[in-house]
């Protein structure tokens, strides 16, 4: 890991086109601004990893339909119960 000490408003450049700027320094947190191309995802680590793990659980190789158990496939042919999605 490369370690830098930066003051407010200072910038770190990563690769070609990624910039990280220190916007505000607080007692126990720092506000960072990140500029990056649209092809580069930029996210909080813990949130990204949580979604990454869920996507990996969801993925099938080619042909997702082959992974559906027959009984579940039969059940899915009936209307889905709406409203089960509330947190």
């Amino acid at each position: 890991m490369l370690v830098f000490t930066r003051k407010r408003d200072e910038v770190i450049v990563i690769g070609d086109g990624i910039r990280v700027q220190v916007l505000r320094v607080g007692h126990d947190q720092v506000r960072l601004g990140v500029s990056a191309p649209l092809t580069v995802p930029v996210h909080r680590l813990e949130v990204y990893e949580q979604i990454e793990a869920e996507n990996r659980r969801a993925a099938s190789g080619p042909g997702a339909a082959r992974s559906i158990p027959p009984a579940l496939a039969e059940r899915l042919r009936r209307p889905l119960p709406a409203g089960k999605g509330d947190a």
Partner: protein, 152 residues
């Protein structure tokens, strides 16, 4: 009886959903950053599956082979609404008036229970054929929302 996908990702008309936004299966949707865990999967097609509507299949056609069961979140959570950030809107090349297609990924676990990831939806802009997954700390919806179980 098991329903199987066609062996090739050949063209098959996709029944419209989300207010009749037509997408033909042989049209490729660009995901510029892939999706978390599948960053190299940047080109997908959206396929209908015989008899399994409303579920569809989002299949990677470039990079690692991967496919995902997806469904319209509006069918699972009435009034479903997740904010689209300006960064994601730029990623989609979407003007404010462009209609957006929302889909959520469905996981089936070892016990044959199906869950939908309502927290991190896929967002597609049909006008530009671009998509992305929303990654946000906002936890308004569950990461694993039960769909149905085979015993329902």
């Amino acid at each position: 009886m098991t329903t199987t996908m066609p062996q090739s990702a050949g063209p098959a008309a996709v029944a419209p959903s989300n207010d009749s936004l037509p997408l033909h299966a042989d049209d490729v949707i660009q995901f510029p950053a892939g999706i978390p865990g599948f960053e190299l999967c940047q080109r997908f097609v959206l396929l209908a599956m015989d008899g399994l509507m409303p579920l569809r299949c989002l299949q990677s056609v470039e990079g690692p082979p991967a496919s995902f069961l997806v469904v319209d979140p509006g069918l699972l959570a009435p009034g479903y609404s997740v904010p689209l950030s300006s960064a994601d809107r730029a990623r989609l090349g979407a003007a404010p008036e462009d209609p957006i297609l929302w889909l959520v990924i469905v996981t089936i676990d070892a016990e044959e229970r199906a869950f939908a990831n309502l927290r991190a939806p896929l967002v597609i802009n049909p006008a530009a054929m671009r998509g992305c997954q929303i990654v946000s700390a906002e936890a308004r919806y569950p990461l694993r929302s039960p769909l149905v179980t085979a015993g329902d």
